[in-house]
Amino acid sequence: MNDQNPIPPQIPPQLPPVMPASGPRPLGDDPSERVAIPNVIVAIEAVLRHPRRVMFQLRQPGAGRLITAMLFVSVVCALIYGVVAGTFSGGTQLWAAPVKIAVGLMISALICLPSLYIFTCLGGSQARLIEVGGLLAGLLMLMTILLIGFAPVAWIFSQSTESLAWMGTLHLVFWFIATLFGLRFLEAGFSHSNARSLAGFRTWVVIFLLVAVQMTTALRPILGTSETFLPTEKKFFMAHWGDCLKAQDEASKSESR
């Protein structure tokens, strides 16, 4: 029935891939990339110095262990950074801030994982769901490790300022820089999966950034104090930041009076 079509199926010329033919070296061509990653310390070292080794290992059987290790490191580093963030207010925030930062990061990643997989598939990437999940775990790990690097700076500032708006901005800038490096890792990972286009991936990046930023409002207060662990009022981040800046402005005005 379907064979009634007058045009016989022919093999058309293939669409050129977005990546140049001379583009990224195939993963695993360097023997050092094929060495297994046995523990979390090696995983941290690899994601910083030999990201291709991580990318290669994520394609091998048993990648689940590596992904678990990377997620574990991400949670631990997020908790440590959270403690530093919590020192701004002290008290209950010393445990509330780390819990919120770690949980918020994991939920953001979980919410965005399905769309990441669909967008990468649409871009022609051959990456399986587990590999996409692994690359996302790598992003989280790299991001949180870098946040640990920023922690001493953040701590010094949190001890010398009372401005909530200032500290919030500082943490957001650190988070943004760390995320940029994480996204670079993710993009490099996808460039090795025969992706024809990165447009979908870039759209996803915008969604991921917005979700993560909104998470800071959904789980507020992370830096300041409150009577309840979670907010009783729902707000979008623009409205929340606007309120914070207004409160800060009013506080500085009354101080100058």
Partner: protein, 239 residues
């Protein structure tokens, strides 16, 4: 432990001359002796310069600034050590932690050595200046001393960073990568260093305020907030 008499101060001249091969070899191996030498040079060089800086206000201010100046350098190097070590491989320069730490420390050693060398000149200038009083601070003397400090510190900082750039280019084999890493390190060191200097103020001192190690409001507000408020005040004047 190495005794202090085993330190070889001639190594400092190698650093100042900027012999990338030798410096790169030093950065590659961890030596407690060399680390101690570098810390001593920073303490002595920056300390002497700090003393000359604070002397105009009071000998006690000279002592305080002599302690605080090296502290800023050491805290900045230590506080950013982890971050700098992560930034280097992420920006294409695959060096281990100890190498990035040594490289930055050596650039500060060069700056401190230059500052130390200029400290007698600064001391001479301060000695010739009229003693610190409200009139002197509002006149051209204060401006001249301040600008001289800015010029000497800028010269020492630039020289240290030029040497650091040469070392990074030697280690990474690429000037582009070296430039990228140097700018990233400079940015984070400036960011933290400015705040530490703000917290540890005063350095020159003020004739109207008492001599003290920290200001009472040392931990209130931060450097960047202060700049922001100053800018706000300037713009409000135009309203």
């Amino acid at each position: 432990m190495y005794a202090l008499d085993e330190l070889n101060p001639r190594e400092i001249s190698v650093l100042l001359c900027g012999e990338p091969e030798r410096i790169a070899a030093w950065a590659g191996q961890w030596s407690a002796r060399r680390l101690a030498l570098h810390v001593v040079v920073i303490i002595v060089g920056a300390g002497l310069y700090g003393a000359a800086m604070g002397w105009w206000r009071d000998p006690q201010q000279a002592l305080f600034t002599a302690v605080k100046f090296p502290l800023i350098i050491l805290f900045t190097t230590g506080g950013n050590a982890l971050l700098n070590a992560m930034l280097a491989p992420l920006l294409g320069l695959n060096i281990p932690f100890r190498q990035s730490f040594s490289a930055i420390l050596m650039s500060f050693v060069i700056a401190a050595a230059i500052l130390g060398a200029f400290s007698p000149l600064l001391a001479f200038m301060v000695w010739n200046a009229p003693s610190m009083s409200p009139e002197a601070v509002s006149g051209s003397t204060y401006s001249f001393i301040k600008l001289t400090h800015v010029a000497v510190i800028a010269f020492a900082g630039i020289t240290g960073n030029v040497r650091l750039f040469q070392l990074l280019a030697q280690l990474g084999g690429s000037r582009t990568v070296a430039r990228r890493v140097l700018f990233a390190w400079l940015a984070v060191n400036l960011f933290l260093g400015s705040q530490l200097s703000w917290t540890l103020r005063p350095f020159i001192g003020s004739p109207l305020l008492p001599v003290e190690f920290f200001r009472a409001a040392a931990l209130h507000g931060n450097f960047y907030e202060n700049i922001f408020h100053s800018l706000l005040q300037i713009f409000q004047q135009f309203d």
